[in-house]
């Protein structure tokens, strides 16, 4: 256990190097608007702060320290050059509202990224404004709504979402004022197209689909699905969460999607940062172009300009105060240029190779795959329901025991359709040795589940803490440190 920074604080201690020189007065601000009591921020030396947060960092698993096969999150290598470049003074020091003429460098990079994303997605235009996947989804569905409204097609009040979809899909549809209807999945992992046919109609605004799906398989009936949705006057939304599986091989625009978002923190390797920031650019085909969010980066004779709502009257509007997560977009641009033309396809090739190799080896070791007859895409699902029935050891127990063995656990209990599941995504940047190491660890736990059941059920044993009491965390809510507690 590491003491809280507040518990290391000493009243009156000042980090003098950060106490900037001067004797400023604030005598022109009325007393009633001033703070009487100092905020309870820590009073520590620079060394204390540096040591404390360095120690905290060491309590984390991360891509830089461990294999991190978190399914649907694409935890690939984060090249350091991407961060270095984004932090160059010219980029990091530029004010967002400074004239466009002072930002031709950064705008040229962003424009280049826009064109690259257009090319790999097969869409007509791309906007870099959304700040995360969920905001990309919001942007896409808001554009679908604006499109129908512009045509006075007001009866469309439903968005269709497969039951295997990520939780952000239905939550997004509701934020855009739609009702959600879930479409069931067939045993082979594909969408139940008969159920879809039943559900679709004049009330359908659109369908949100992830392909490859969250079940780790490619939706083979995609062309037929697109025809169905378009035939009913709806639009097709592509959730790009799993783009890493088809990068440089299949373009969402050519699968029939009208609007897409891409997660640059997945496919384009920008850092996950302990939970963000991300970037979720959207791409659209011709009919949705007028509705793209602002600001919009355009180029004319080598000069780059940002357009706002006055220039794009049909735009759904702004998503943030400035220009999205620009520094993250720069990191993605650096990564894209490092991959280059041939590198795009190789990402999909080797991500898929790694996943299928792990699937084959784990199957050989006696683990049950949720979709045995299917190829893995860049990820796959195994179910531990047999292990649970035989030994009582659950997917959660397996996950915690993996931590003891130095591997971050795969995504557990998602998608909700598969009982006791692991969604495993190795990514292309992992080596054969690393994959074999993980497979060996899984085999060991399989044995331990039989021979030392209690030990597995009470794992982890070698981490900074053992299993945490989540019920207590929610019931006796303690989300802010108070001095009197300690």
């Amino acid at each position: 256990m590491t003491e809280l920074i507040f518990e290391q604080s000493t009243a009156g201690r000042i980090n003098n190097a950060q106490f900037l020189a001067g004797t400023p007065a604030i005598d022109d601000i009325p007393e009633s608007l001033l703070r009487k009591k100092r905020p309870g921020l820590p009073e520590v030396s620079e060394m204390q702060a540096v040591r404390h947060y360095t120690r905290l960092s060491q309590l984390n698993f991360s891509i830089d320290t461990q294999f991190y096969p978190l399914g649907s999150c694409t935890m690939k290598h984060n090249p350091r050059i991407c961060n270095e470049a984004a932090m160059y003074d010219g980029f990091s020091g530029r004010h967002p509202s400074a004239p466009d003429s002072t930002g031709q460098g950064v705008l040229s990079c962003l424009y280049d990224l826009q064109e690259i994303l257009k090319d790999i997605s097969g869409m007509s235009e791309v906007s870099l404004a959304p700040m995360a996947g969920a905001q990309g989804e919001f942007t896409g569905i808001a554009m679908i709504r604006a499109y129908h409204e512009a045509r006075n097609d007001d009866a469309r009040e439903e968005i269709l979402v497969p039951d295997a979809a990520h939780g952000t899909n239905p939550a997004t549809a509701v934020m855009c004022g739609y009702k959600v209807r879930e479409i069931p999945t067939l045993d082979n992992g594909d969408v139940d197209i008969d159920a879809l046919r039943e559900a679709i109609g004049p009330q359908t605004a659109g369908l949100m689909l992830t392909n490859p799906s969250t079940l780790g398989v490619f939706e083979t009936q995609i062309t037929e699905i697109a025809e169905l949705v378009h035939g009913a006057g709806g639009l097709l939304y592509y959730d790009g969460a799993n783009m890493n599986a088809i990068l440089g091989k299949v373009k969402p625009g050519e699968m029939g999607f009208d609007v897409i978002h891409l997660n640059l923190h997945k496919t384009f390797s920008t850092p996950h940062g302990g939970g963000g920031p991300g970037a979720g650019p959207v791409g659209v085909n011709e009919r949705l172009v007028p509705f793209l969010p602002v600001p919009k980066i355009v180029e004319s004779s080598g000069e780059y300009t940002l357009l706002d709502k006055k220039d794009c009257p049909q735009s759904i509007g702004r998503l943030s105060c400035f220009m999205g997560n620009t520094g993250i977009l720069l990191r993605a641009w650096v990564y894209a240029r490092l991959l280059g033309h041939d590198g795009m396809k190789r990402v999909a090739d080797y991500a898929t190779l790694n996943a299928n190799y792990m699937k084959a080896k784990l199957e050989q070791a006696g683990f049950e795959m949720a979709y045995k007859t299917r190829r893995a895409t860049h990820e796959f699902i195994l179910t531990l329901k047999k292990e649970k029935a035989e030994t009582g050891v659950t997917a959660m127990d397996f996950a915690k025991r993996l931590l003891d063995k130095g591997y971050h656990a795969p995504t557990t209990y998602f998608p909700l359709l598969v009982p006791e599941c692991f969604l495993i995504e190795p990514t292309e940047s992992e080596s054969l040795e690393e994959l074999d190491g993980f497979i060996k660890a899984m085999e060991e736990i399989q044995q331990e589940a039989i021979e030392q059941t209690e030990m597995v059920k009470s794992a982890p044993h070698s981490l900074p803490v053992r299993r945490l009491d989540d019920v207590r965390a929610a019931r006796q809510l303690d989300v802010v440190w108070q001095e009197e507690q300690t």
Binding site: I14, N15, P24, A25, D28, P30, L33, L34, R35, P42, V50, T54, L59, N60, F61, S62, I63, A85, G90, F91, H95, P96, S97, G103, G105, D119, I120, G122, M131, Q135, G167, T168, M175, F218, G248, K251, E254, S269, G274, G276, P277, R318, C321, L338, L339, G343, T352, L353, N356, R374, H408, E428, L432, P464, V465, R467, D469, V479, V480, W481
Partner: protein
């Protein structure tokens, strides 16, 4: 092949284990007519030296300017340790702490962050961040409407950042919520109390109060909060976190304090970077905690009774509640919050108060120097924090062009958002501006104004 470690021999072994001869066979479930490996635009790969050269060239093209512009993003001192520690791989390349036992570093840091923000704002709780300030306001509006049930109207002062209003409009407009404008008084540049009083009806869910407002001016927060509460309406405070080192905490505004506090976190150690990534913060009263969007970290104990940290109240979130979640937000801005927590620890309450006071004093000095020029005057008579609106007797767009050519960003022109503020410029001088830089600015401005 960048970032792919496989040797040819390894690839062969792996394909053999799978039982296929070639990687392409792994894609055999994809309908053949959908495979298209042709890329028309993507250029050939660069190596690291190549991309470094290209990025540096682009960054250098943007040069270095002396910023007298704020308007929602501010150039402050950032201790060197902030980004050196925040970009340690263990923070930089970890993900959302779903496996709490393997993420205690990030979780404890976020708990400390929540505690710092709650203390700074004077509120009971803080979440673990939102995307940035403007979209945080949209989330606060949605939260207020949820808490107030049938009330669907929000009072939004014209003196709030125009991009905050636009963003909120984009995000909430499809949920039947209406945003009503409240004008500013033309002399003070702050909320027009009499119009506000007329608008505060039964249907109003919340009043938004920016402090300082977009013009840099300080609102009469105590009176505003009390009036809003008296009429059964919640208060959403929009604040600059660095200013709270010296200004009254929203939790102490009026009799009962604000109900929800949001803002842009950029001034806490985040570089300007042309607009992002930054982070939004959100704090609220205990009563509203279950209506909050975003991640929340709680302190609890492990199986041995030892202190530990975990994601909590997840039943509010999209991955559990799906279409009934408080928001669709999933990822937030973890890395930025890591930097902000380091910033607040390294600066401490004294260092932050000093930076805030210096920014205030520098802006005052700048305004004195600029208004000494004939044809330049202060537009509003309210006290300010670290920004001020100047009315200048010349075409402001021309002025900006001319001063930019001298390596100075003069400020933010207001006319495109406020017709009535023709030739008005919002200026800011943080603790980083020197007197010599201000003199230089004044010299150029005088030359331009006197040419008329």
């Amino acid at each position: 092949m960048p970032f792919i470690p496989h040797t040819e021999e390894e690839t062969r072994l792996m394909l053999e284990a799978i039982g296929v001869r070639h990687i392409d066979e792994l894609f055999d479930e994809i309908p053949a007519d959908l495979i298209n490996e042709k890329l028309d635009y993507v250029p050939p790969a660069l190596d690291e030296a190549g991309i470094r050269r290209l990025s540096r060239k682009s960054a250098d093209a943007d040069g270095h300017y002396i910023n007298f512009i704020g308007a929602g993003a501010y150039e402050h001192h950032i201790p060197a340790a902030v980004w050196q520690i925040a970009t340690r791989g263990e923070f930089y390349s970890a993900y959302t702490p779903y496996q709490a036992e393997a993420s205690q570093g990030t979780l404890q840091l976020l708990y400390e962050y929540q505690s710092m923000m709650a203390s700074l704002t004077g509120m009971d709780v803080s979440n673990a961040s939102l995307y940035e300030g403007a979209s945080a306001l949209a989330e606060a509006v949605l939260m207020a409407v949820r808490a107030q049930r049938r009330k669907q109207r929000i009072l939004m002062p014209v003196s709030i950042h125009p991009a905050y209003r636009e963003t909120t409009e984009t995000i909430v407009k499809n949920q039947g919520i209406s945003l009503s404008n409240i004008d500013y008084a033309s002399e003070s540049g702050t909320i027009d109390m009499s119009q506000l009083s007329d608008e505060l009806g039964d249907d109003v869910a919340a009043l938004v109060i920016p402090q300082p407002n977009y013009f840099g001016a300080l609102e009469e927060v105590d009176a505003l909060v009390d009036l809003a509460h008296k009429r059964g309406c919640l208060v959403i405070a929009v604040v600059n976190p660095l200013s709270l080192a010296i200004l009254k905490a929203p939790g102490e505004w009026g009799e009962n304090g604000a109900d929800i506090v949001i803002g842009e976190g950029q001034s806490l150690g985040i570089p300007l970077s042309s607009g992002g990534p930054y982070f939004g913060f959100m704090c609220c009263t205990q009563k509203l905690v279950r209506q909050m969007p975003g991640r929340l970290i709680g302190r609890t104990v492990d199986a041995d009774g030892k202190q530990g940290f975990t994601l909590t109240l997840q039943a509010r979130e999209q991955h559990i509640r799906r279409s009934k979640a408080t928001s669709n937000i999933c990822t937030n801005q973890g890395l930025m919050v890591t930097a902000a927590t380091l910033y607040m620890s390294l600066m401490g309450p004294a260092g932050m108060a000093q930076a805030a006071k210096l920014s205030h004093a520098n802006t005052r000095m700048l305004v004195e120097k600029l208004t000494a020029i004939e044809g330049v005057e202060v537009a509003f008579n309210s006290p300010v924090f670290h920004e001020c609106v100047l009315r200048i007797n010349t075409d402001v767009d021309d002025l900006i062009r001319a001063i930019t050519a001298q390596g100075i960003i003069a400020g933010k022109p207001l006319e495109s958002d406020y017709e009535e503020l023709k030739n008005c410029l919002l200026v800011c001088a943080t603790e980083l501006r020197t007197e010599a830089e201000m003199d230089d600015y004044a010299l150029h401005l005088e030359r331009i104004v006197s040419k008329r």
